[in-house]
């Protein structure tokens, strides 16, 4: 853990109340912690201090002038007044100044109803404007498909500039001109070229920056706001869904209680419009005369159950491919359905991380403190080793937290990977090698063979003061020696590794980490929203829930099932929320003997070949739990709905019922209870979980014997702007991509 020695408390008085706050606390924060509101626009926790809006001026004894509470640090004996007549006058005047050129177009402003300036004017403001000079008007500008800028509304709090630069490390927003002509400008004169994360829009206290995906769609008070876990990558961010009439109209960061705090990436914010895509499946389809035809749910389910029973009678073979996006309850129910109803171990999912090996290697290391790290712990980690991957694109929250640690806590970030990635700007040391396995073995003390694959070593490429020359030592392996020597001195290390480290390489990595003197913790990077949950729930041919051996002989893994399909050796394949044919195309001819059932949102490559297609709900439309890449389980709340589609859990229960298994009606709470009793590590506090916290699971069950054939990991390698099937059906994400291509030309 990070240094947790608490700072000594200092005593101060605010408005006659005696308070205590840790030394070093900003006065504005000390007040906030004691429920004394000191208003501000430019102050934003964990971004650099501006003292620009002058809203937080307070009286401090022995100081002749009013002081900005956002820059003053509490000191012993400090006597503060934040509610005096003088302070109220100053606040009122600051608002009056801000409003001089701010248009009062609140009725048509997207921020209306959730505008900090509106709220502050209501609370502290001038009841009538005394500014009679003409306001300075400027036309609105579109900076990107998702970012619009309305200059007169901007109050120059510089939050957008800071979140883009300091927090995102993108630096695509700046300030031009000076005085009354000062304005925020985008990176490329009239447009933005950036990561399109939209954090600038979210952090804008007024309606100066608005979202191209949401503007003019509705008013905030007409929506209900549901904090849901993002359906895209494995980081587990909370996105606040704005839902009207069961339709999800926007995602943003209104609810900052998630593990992502202030952060959301383009996918979490804008990608969710796939839910409203016109090609979304609204009705079950059954293949008749070679064509998929819409049918009723009853007919479709009965068709499936009847055919499966026939196959069972004929002792035919089944294969089941589960989802890395379905909820834990659904994954658990699916493995149960496969093993008990279809009675097969031919079960797998799209694997992007080698969790079984990680848990096996950890279990082999004897008792130790919890060896997994939670997402937020990266922010305070003294040291992090990143092996492989490019979190900026593939795990945007993880990258955000690494930058946070670097910025706020001087985290020493070691990067070992194959090429230059953006996070090298925050790297304390990096090493680049073609063969990561060899490099990992080198870390673990094996000879210098790794040097052969080494292609570079260095320090942060970011400019720093005093400027440290970036040097590549010769010979290179000395650089790697130094890299390893420094790592070996770390007392408290979090190791983050991508799919590039698996199998024996991963065992070496864990051996290295466990050999350090401190408590090393691990994060395995898996690609999709519930990849970790799918693995924990036992979507493996040889492993059941919690990585326990599955009863019976091991089944076929995904690759083997695809091979069996091609050889017409599989009587039925049941695909739930996956699209294996995209990676493993199968000729339609080969499928003639196979009864293919697909449950999905869209007519994917796999669904197009199916005999029965069942329209599914997405993660935002159902309730349950998900587990992020770190192993933190969170509640998923139902945001919107979709007429005609059903959740995977509901479908499984209906099919089980039709197949005579008598599972009863689907009930996620009951399934969760089953998971909590059956999956070791998921027996987490229900109170914490249901209260909305993320709770770290730890499915350590001793050694994990592998009996099935090894299967390769197939990472998505998504860019910031792609996200598999869901991304392909997001109009906003596609518009951003198209714009990027256009700019590239």
């Amino acid at each position: 853990m990070a240094d947790t020695t608490p700072a000594p408390l200092v005593n101060l008085t605010v408005n006659g109340r005696a308070l205590q706050a840790p030394a070093g606390t900003l006065l504005i924060e000390a007040c906030k912690q004691n429920h004394i509101e000191v208003p501000s626009f430019c102050y934003y926790p964990n971004l650099s201090l501006q003292a620009a809006c002058r809203m937080c001026l307070v009286e401090i004894e022995k100081m002749p002038k009013l002081q900005t509470a956002c820059t003053v640090v509490v000191s012993e004996g400090m006597v503060v007044k934040s509610d005096s007549e003088t302070v109220h006058r100053a606040r009122k005047s600051a608002i009056e100044f801000i409003l001089t050129n701010h248009p009062l177009d609140c009725p048509v402003c997207d921020a209306g109803g959730e505008c900090e300036l509106q709220d502050m004017t209501f609370t502290y403001g001038a009841e009538k404007g005394r500014f009679v000079e003409p306001k300075r008007h400027r036309d609105e500008q579109q900076w990107s498909p998702v970012v619009y800028f309305d200059r007169p509304r901007c109050i120059l709090c510089y939050r957008c500039v800071r979140v883009c630069g300091e927090a995102m490390d993108v630096w695509a927003l700046g300030v031009a001109n000076r005085g009354i002509n000062a304005t925020i400008i985008p990176s490329h004169q009239d447009h933005l070229e950036c990561e399109e994360c939209g954090n600038c829009v979210d952090i804008c206290p007024v309606g100066a920056l608005t979202s191209g995906a949401y503007r003019y769609k509705t008013r905030p008070w007409e929506m209900k706001h549901v904090g849901a876990v993002c359906a895209f990558c494995g980081d587990g961010c909370k996105t606040t869904l704005g839902v009207r009439n069961d339709a999800i109209l926007r995602g943003d960061n209104r609810d900052k209680s998630g593990i992502n705090g202030d952060f959301l990436c383009i996918k979490g914010r804008y990608g969710l419009d796939f839910t409203q895509h016109p090609e979304r499946l609204k009705q079950p389809l059954v293949r008749r005369e070679g064509k998929l035809q819409p049918v009723s749910w009853t007919y479709a389910l009965e068709t499936v159950a009847k055919r499966w029973q026939e196959i069972q009678k004929a002792s035919g073979s089944f294969g089941v491919v589960g989802s890395t996006r379905s909820l834990n309850e659904e994954a658990f129910a699916l493995q149960k359905f496969a093993r008990t109803v279809l009675q097969t171990n031919n079960l797998d999912h799209h694997r992007t991380a080698d969790f079984p090996t990680l848990y096996d290697a950890l279990a082999g290391r004897g008792p130790a403190p919890a060896p997994l790290a939670a997402m937020h712990e990266l922010k305070a980690a003294p040291a992090v080793l990143l092996v492989g991957g490019n979190p900026t694109d593939e795990h945007p929250l993880l990258a955000w937290n690494l930058r946070w640690g670097y910025r706020q806590n001087k985290t020493r970030l070691y990067i070992l990977n194959r090429g230059d990635i953006k996070l090298r700007r925050q790297a304390y040391r990096y090493a680049q090698a073609d063969d990561l396995g060899a490099a990992v073995r080198f870390l673990n003390g094996e000879g210098a063979a790794a040097a052969a694959s080494l292609t570079g070593v260095g320090e942060a490429s970011e400019k720093r003061w005093p400027q440290t020359p970036v040097s590549t030592p010769a010979p290179l392996d000395e650089g790697l020696q130094d890299f390893r020597a420094r790592l070996r001195q770390e007392q408290d290390l979090i190791i983050v590794f991508s799919a590039e480290v698996a199998g024996d390489d991963l065992r070496h990595l864990v051996a290295f980490g466990s050999g350090l003197s401190g408590a090393t913790r691990y994060i395995a990077l898996a690609d999709n929203a519930n990849s970790h949950g799918a693995a924990d729930m036992g979507l493996y041919p040889d492993l059941g829930p919690g990585y326990t051996p599955a009863p019976g002989a091991p089944g076929l893994n995904l690759e083997q099932m695809m091979a069996a399909l091609r050889q017409q050796n599989l009587c039925s394949l049941y695909v739930v929320g996956a699209n294996p044919f995209r990676l493993h195309p199968v000729e339609p001819e080969a499928l003639k003997q196979t009864f293919l059932v697909v449950q999905d949102l869209f007519l994917t490559e796999t669904a197009q070949a199916a005999d029965v297609v069942l329209p599914a709900l997405c993660a935002y439309e159902k309730a349950g739990t998900v587990t992020n890449t770190c192993g933190e389980v969170q509640v998923q709340r139902r945001g919107g709905g979709f007429e005609g589609a059903k959740s995977d859990l509901e479908v499984l229960h209906l099919l089980a019922d039709l197949m005579g298994a008598a599972w009863g009606a689907a009930n996620p709470d009951r399934t969760l209870q089953e998971i909590r009793t059956q999956v070791k590590g998921y027996d987490v506090s229900l109170a914490r979980l249901l209260a909305g916290e993320s709770v770290l699971t730890l499915p350590l069950n001793g050694r994990v014997p592998r009996t099935a054939a090894p299967a390769p990991l197939r990472p998505n390698r998504d860019s910031l702007f792609t996200a598999g099937t869901l991304g392909r059906y997001s109009a906003t994400m596609n518009s951003v991509m198209e714009k990027k291509l256009e700019q590239g030309r």
Partner: protein, 435 residues
């Protein structure tokens, strides 16, 4: 070249009538670098002590004791220390540094090297406002000459001490005269002032401990070292040591820059050096120390002595030495408007009250002066000024508010007269308002 006025006491300007003082031979011929030779033999603490003794206070406007400023620099520092010369002279009414840079550039160089010895800095920069290009050229030549002769660079005069110096141009920004904004600008950024603390003596240019002084301040250092701090202090009243260049402009017969001891009577500056009021008009008001300082009405001005404490006593500031004289025919509304036009143009825009307030006041004053005034405007403009005062990030807001308040208070009747259609002495011309 300017001939000395009989009433002048030329210390900083002692070479102003020496035609070749801006060349190294000319400088050396008139005690040039004697102070440096002396300083090279002194302990750093002794140099600072001598400057403290002199009572020298910053000549840029704030009047902070120079010796004390130097003593704040930590002796040991992991980061490089710097000496900066603030030659961003931009305060309306002020044009003295220009004369020093023109006539005596080596004195500034010498003062900077001495400052470097005193605080243990090995590098310095002279930040010269962009408009003073001919002075940048002159300074760069002087630096080259000094370097070639061993007064700058490695191992100065063979005494084992190093000091490297460069001239640096600004590009048009009043705010860069604020010391932390100047450092931002010198780092190649927008000239936005920095949060203080930390103060420059602890973390200035590039985060290193930095001393920053005005041109005149630094040029005062060599004579102080040669003649001793007490000699310099003796020129002025207590705590107001030395002499100072005053820039006289406005409605006087003879505009000019003269050096007199601090405490010199303003009346004598106007009457004897400036030749009295132009066209026999009566004095109405004086800007005592550049446009940022509250204006003084004639009755106060006639009795005023020009030193820091005396001017403070009557509610204004000695400021930068820019004395602007206004006669009875001056439209004070128009004058207030021109001042506000300046601050509106120069506000960096960082903080709300300065950015919005200066534009508000400029627009209101323009409308008012243009004949569109309302009764309520007079009180409102005063309140808006009060709302800027003391609430801005840096002193620019105060600089805009203070003269405005003083005009509204002392010459309120002129605003009322404008409302009542009394002809404005300047004519009701509206200034080009929108820049």
């Amino acid at each position: 070249m300017t001939k000395p006025h009989p009433l002048e006491t030329r210390v900083v300007s002692r070479r102003f009538d020496q035609p070749d003082a801006h060349t190294l031979p000319g400088y050396l011929a008139s005690d040039g670098f004697q102070a440096l030779e002396k300083a090279l033999a002194m302990a750093p603490e002794a140099i600072i002590e001598e400057v403290k003794k002199s009572g020298l206070r910053g000549r840029g406007g704030a009047g902070f004791p120079t010796g004390m400023k130097w003593s704040f620099v930590p002796k040991q520092s992991p980061r490089a220390k710097f000496v900066l010369c603030n030659a961003d002279e931009s305060e309306p009414g002020t044009c003295k540094d220009r004369l020093i840079l023109e006539h005596d550039p080596f004195a500034v160089i010498e003062g900077m090297v001495i400052a470097g010895l005193a605080i243990g800095a090995k590098q310095g920069y002279i930040y010269i406002r962009g408009e003073y290009r001919y002075l940048l050229d002159r300074m760069e030549r002087a630096i080259e000459e000094a370097r070639a002769a061993g007064y700058l660079g490695k191992n100065i005069r063979g005494r084992g001490l190093d000091f490297e110096l460069w001239a640096h141009t600004g590009a048009g920004a009043y705010e860069c005269g604020e010391e932390s904004a100047l450092m931002e600008s010198l780092e190649g950024k927008r000239g936005i002032p920095r949060l203080k603390p930390p103060f420059p003596a602890v973390a200035g240019y590039m985060g290193g401990p930095t001393v920053i002084n005005n041109v005149e301040t630094l040029a005062s250092v060599p004579p102080i070292l040669i003649n001793g701090g007490e000699w310099f202090a003796a020129f002025g009243p207590p705590k107001n040591g030395g002499t100072r260049l005053f820039c006289l402009s406005g409605h006087v017969r003879q505009q000019g820059v003269w050096e007199v001891p601090l405490g010199f009577p303003l009346r004598r500056l106007i009457e004897e050096m400036g030749g009295g009021m132009r066209n026999g008009a009566q004095l109405k008001a004086v800007v005592p120390g550049g446009s940022s300082t509250p204006l003084l009405p004639a009755s106060v001005a006639w009795e005023l002595n020009l030193d820091f404490d005396s001017v403070a006593k009557v509610g204004s500031f000695l400021g930068s030495g820019g004395v602007v004289v206004l006669d009875e025919n001056t439209c004070m509304v128009r004058f207030a408007l021109r001042i506000m036009q300046f601050y509106r143009h120069e506000s960096c825009g960082w903080c709300v009250p300065c950015r919005e307030g200066t534009q508000w006041l400029q627009a209101s004053l323009a409308r008012f002066h243009g004949g569109g005034g309302r009764d309520a405007d007079i009180a409102l403009m005063r309140e808006v000024s009060e709302n800027i005062l003391g609430r801005t990030f840096c002193a620019l807001g105060d600089a805009a508010a203070m003269p405005t308040i003083s005009i509204l208070d002392h010459w309120r009747q002129e605003f009322v007269d404008h409302l009542n259609g009394k002809p404005c002495p300047f004519g009701a011309t509206t200034l080009a308002a929108a820049h």
